[in-house]
Amino acid sequence: MRVILEAKARKKPFLPIEAESIIPRNFLKGTDITVYEGNKERRLEDLFWILVEGTAVTPEKIEVVLKGDTSRVKRIGEYMDAGKITIAGDVGMHCGNFMSGGDIEILGNADAWLGREMRGGYILCHGNAAHYCASGYRGEKTGMRGGSIEVLGNAGDYCAEYLTGGEVHIHGSCGDMAGVEMKGGQFIIEGDATRPCGNMKDGTCMIFGTVHQMLPTFERTGIKELPDRKVTMTVYKGDIANRGKGVMMVKETVRSDE
């Protein structure tokens, strides 16, 4: 079954829409669900043109497709556990928060907190992801626990903050402090990163681009050949400041003071 939601034009296009109800499972019971525009509860059909193709008896068999301007629609796919969501354009904040299963594919850019505290499933973002991609929540010690997030473009600052499990793969570059507070999981950055892995406790981070402002509290422990990629990585242990035993592998580094 396919549920196609096309965003309608709005009087106040910048007001956020909160749409955690947009997950495949909820469409088993039809399309009579509500979302919030600011502090007003709205029926889905007030904000989207709705087209349903076919039927399904399990969420696994449901694909929700979002079209039109969805850049201000927040929390799509929150607590999603099965099925697929495809976003044709950009998506608002908190897409796929707490997601435990299923797929989300974003053809445009994702706003901040993409896949925050994710537990399982797969998110693919073709464009860029904003700050706090694959991160944790304020005050919470455990961030993303499982599943995987792949971003074909760049990610903003604090990417994979508190990463605890699962895999984060950024094909472009990360902003400031990628992998800060990492506790586990695997984090791959194909491009550059600035001050990565500060305060890291555990887990593995591989950076194939250039590291800017390498932090002074990582201990060089040797080198590692990656035959499949035909590269040699410098291996660091850290963050020593935090009694960390995480592993950071870097292709090439530039210290802030060099």
Partner: protein, 129 residues
């Protein structure tokens, strides 16, 4: 020349912060402290006007020589004038880069605007107290 703009409290700015329509506030908040060497490079004297340009905005300030700022950076008191060039980007922390904005400085003959004029330029309506 490209420099890092730092902003913060100064005594004169703090003394007049509750009287923003006053000449005291305007003169206290519309100054830009620059290292003497940088002023030489810019070819300006203490008291000259400079135009400070951020990513998407510009503001005219009065240059003041100060050895308390490093070469390559300038200090502008926090408030209406400095914020005219600070970007709204907060890196999702809620806090703009008030103390680390890259700006371009060039000498200018243009006048320093009043707070009311600055606000008008942003769509406000001047209130004459």
């Amino acid at each position: 020349m490209k420099v890092i703009m730092n902003t913060g409290r100064t005594i004169p700015q703090g003394e007049s912060v509750e009287r923003k329509h006053s000449p005291e506030y305007e003169s206290a908040a519309s100054v830009c402290f620059i290292h003497p060497v940088d002023m030489m490079v810019l070819g300006i004297e203490d008291g000259a006007h400079i135009r400070l340009s951020g990513p998407d905005s510009r503001v005219v300030l009065t240059a003041r020589a100060s050895e308390m700022v490093e070469q390559g950076s300038v200090f502008v008191p926090l408030g209406s004038y400095s914020n005219h060039v600070v970007s709204g980007e907060t890196h999702c922390t809620g806090m703009p880069d008030f103390k680390s904005t890259m700006v371009e400085i060039i000498p200018t003959e243009d006048p320093v605007l009043s707070v009311a004029e600055l606000m008008e330029s942003l769509g406000g309506v001047r209130y004459a107290h």
